[in-house]
Structures are given as structure tokens and as C-alpha cells.
Amino acid sequence: MRPVYISGIGSTAFGRHHDMSIESLATQASSQAIKESGLAREQLGALYLGNFISGPLNGKEVLAGIVADRLGLPGNIPCTKVEGACASGGIAFRHAWLAVAYGMCDAALVVGVEKMTHATTAEVTSALNCAMDNELDGPNGLTFPGLFGLVWRAYDRAFGLARDDVSAVVIKNKRHGLLNPLAQMGGQLSFDEIAASAMIADPLQLFDCCPATDGAAALVLCSEAMYRESRKQPVRVLASVQTSGAPQIAKHLDLCTFEATVSAAQQAYASAKIGASQIDVVELHDCFSMAEIVDSEDLGLVPRGQGAKWAAEGRTDIGGDVAINPSGGLLAKGHPVGATGVAQIYEVVRQLRGEHDNQVAGARTGLTHNLGGTGVACTVNILQAEQ
């Protein structure tokens, strides 16, 4: 296995793109990443595209080949669409990393994309529900907000958790979103506004949920020899880990944790030979406020039962012990599901280059965490700026 570097990044704004097709979003982000990498298109040896629900929501598939065509990539390279629910982008990244790390090619393009905002809430909910165990959980009418409603109550029972405890996460991420020009809905929210918002899946309320989003993000990964073409400070992939967990809610015997995250984090820290305390900046999968609390503990960043407390005390804010979701996270930046895992890496690369609009001072090592379905698929990556 050889070192892999991220030499180019690109992203559309996250939000509504009613005037752009899903292919166009992916093409725009990819083009930025390729140009920034300084590589010629002929030097790209593979394309991996992360997407979850382009079939049900857009009636479009084989997006990897279509986007390669739009980009004018060489016709003889493998172009692969990767699906793993909300972890589709993270899994696409890992496959591009594998391709370069193990020498299949010297440079690879990864792009994540989703287009959702043209559909109704019920259509989006139904499409996302494709990622549920529909032999076991689906028939009861469970939804993904519902999953995190279940997690909230189990967590409350185990550790105690009030409405305002959880709101601390919402307030932090929404505030960060205001500082990210790509974010869909940053905001300055009060505890009262959050508590007064509509119930979605009790105790989960509207502001606890990420929005539906259109958007794409892309990265060029390459070998050490190739990153020298890039004018940007190189960022190295120290570890890229993918794990699986139970698809069925009832197989999660502890609803306060996702085993796939715990396992991926442990493997990633071991592979990178660093500890959780050395991570400066984190982009984790806060599809719901409750998810950030559980994820931050599963990743070993925060002690068990302390996720909300650390957010309330500013310990997961910029300037705290570890900056979590300075991009605004999924809650504020938005969650174009298949793009998210790639977009998280885009955000961390900008932090490690020291060029982020909501910069964590001196950030050298970053982590991304992308979770799919009911914890059925997870990726954790550790990235580091080269000195």
C-alpha cells in the first residue's frame, strides 16, 4: 500500500438547484476538482461516483459513465456508481483510495451527488426508506427521523437527555452554517425556537432534522509522484476504513451506539497510528441532532453520555477540545445524501489547507464520518496536512 494524496477538490453550493440536472451538478464539482489538481484528464485512471436515490427521485442511473462522458474523460477507464445509502459518498471515496493505494491507477476521481428538493417530503421519505430493512422494520412504518426518535428515548433512559441539551448541537451547527458560503440553511437559533418547532418523530423536532438538498462534491486522489502537479498544499489520507452494521433496528441491542462507527473509528485510529485526542477537526454524520451526540461518542471524541454536555459547554465548537462540524454539518450545510461523504472530505481538506471560511486555527489532522441507513454502512477517514 502506498501513500495517497488529495490534490484537487470541488463542490457546488448546497441547496436548491432546480435549473441543474443531477449530471450537471456532478460534472461541475468534478471539473473544479480536476482543474485544481493540475492533472490532465488522461491521467485519471478511474471514476467512482457516490449516489443513493437518483433512480427513485430522478429516474436516472449509470451516472458514473454519464458524468465521465460529460467531463470528456478517457473512454477506457472504469467508471463505477457506488451505493450505500447516506454513506454512498464515503464508500465511493474509499474505493478511489483503494484504487490508488494499491496501484490500480495513479490518480482517480471521486464525486458524490444527489438531487432531492424537487420531490415532496413524502416522496423523499419513501426514497430514503429504501435504505431500511424493508422485510423487518419498514412494514411498521418506521422512518429515519423515527430511528433517531427511538435513539433519543433510549439515550434519555441511559444517560438523561432534555430538549435543551440536544438543542445545543442544533444551535452550534446552525451557527457554523452561517459562516459557510456553501451551506443551505445556517441560522442563529434560540432554545425556544427549536422547542417550538414542529414535531417530526417525537421527541425529534423540525430543527433536529437535516434538510433535503441538491448538491455535489468531488475530489481527485493521486499518488505521491502525481500530487506535485497540484499547486495546493497536499493533504494525505492516513486511513480510510469502511464497516458494516445491522440493517435491522432490533439487531441493535444498544440503541445508544452504532457498532459500525465504533469499529470503523477504532480501525482508522490504529491504521493512522494516532489517537482520538490528536484530531483537530471533525466532519461527522449529523443527519439529526441526536446523531451527532451518538457519533461523537462512538468516534471516541467525547466520553459516553457527554455528547450533548460537551456541545453545550463549547467543547465541540471552534476553539474547544475538538471542532465538530465547523461546516455546519448536515443540519445546516445540507445533506444531498450521496454527496455527503465526499463533501465532508472537501470541508476537512479546506480546513487542513488553512483556507476554510470557518477555520479551525492550526488544524493539522482531521476526521470524517459518514453513516448509512440504520448504521448498516459506515466510513471513517483520517486526513493530515503534509508539513
Binding site: 413524502a122 422494520d137 412494514p139 411498521n140 412504518g141 418506521l142 422512518t143 427511538l150 425529534l204 432490533a250
Partner: protein, 138 residues
């Protein structure tokens, strides 16, 4: 509250005895392929629950409804629905006026629950539990 709980049909692997909520093709514990229909008491405890207010298309006519995780006393965790007596008998106006608070006072993690009825939903059976202070087997 002494209404009897219904039995629930599960599937027991002949190879290793593992219980499964629905009949699997193979047993993920031992790769066994033969399963016995096995009737067990529909009683257990409430592990968690949530009220779905934004249902997917297939359940649009049902909402709002409560989905629960139930630990059956035979040692099998399943998902189902849960209602309380007040929820079933309350009017819509009552429900909106504050029934929610009463209902949630009754529903609590760890509460004893029993299977009270089943709904057929597009060919799928939904098990509907209720919180009971005294759960008796059928």
C-alpha cells in the same frame, strides 16, 4: 389492566434454536435452512418508541402512529407499533389538547407491554402492542 396478550408467531431454527421474527432463508447464526413455526407469548418490555408524524407514502393513511422496539420475554427484540388505551379512545380534539402528555406519561422505556392486535398493511402484518401494568399470557 388484565386483558390477555396475544401470542406472536416466530420462527425457530432447528439447527441452533435461534429465534427469528420472520422466516429467514438461512439462519444467520448457523446457516440452518429448516425452521419451526413457534408460538410465543406476545409479552415483553418497551425498549423505545417514537411517534411518526411524517410517514412514508405507504403509511400515509396511518399517521400519526407510534413505532416501538419491544424486547419479548422469550429473548427476541422486534419492532412493532404501540398504542395506549387513551390514545385509542381519545377524540382528535382531546388528542390535540393534551392527550399527548398523558400518553407519554404512560409510555416509558422499560414498561411492560403486550401484543393486543394485528393490522394487515398491504399484505404485511403489523404487531400492535399496548403498555400494560399487569400483562397476562393468553
Amino acid at each position: 389492566m388484565t386483558r390477555a396478550a396475544l401470542d406472536i408467531n416466530v420462527f425457530r431454527c432447528q439447527g441452533c434454536g435461534a429465534l427469528h421474527e420472520r422466516r429467514p432463508v438461512i439462519c444467520p447464526s448457523c446457516l440452518g435452512e429448516v425452521f419451526d413455526d413457534h408460538s410465543v407469548p406476545g409479552v415483553g418490555t418497551l425498549a423505545s418508541w417514537t411517534t411518526i408524524r411524517k410517514p412514508p407514502l405507504a403509511h400515509r393513511g396511518h399517521g400519526p402512529y407510534d413505532v416501538a422496539v419491544i424486547d419479548l420475554s422469550v429473548g427476541l427484540r422486534i419492532t412493532g407499533r404501540i398504542v395506549s388505551e387513551t390514545h385509542e379512545t381519545g377524540s382528535q380534539a382531546e388528542h390535540q389538547a393534551g392527550l399527548q402528555a398523558r400518553r407519554q406519561a404512560e409510555l416509558r422505556v422499560g414498561a411492560p407491554v403486550g401484543l393486543m392486535h394485528r393490522i394487515d398493511s398491504g399484505g404485511e402484518t403489523i404487531n400492535v402492542f399496548e403498555v400494560m401494568e399487569t400483562v397476562t399470557e393468553q
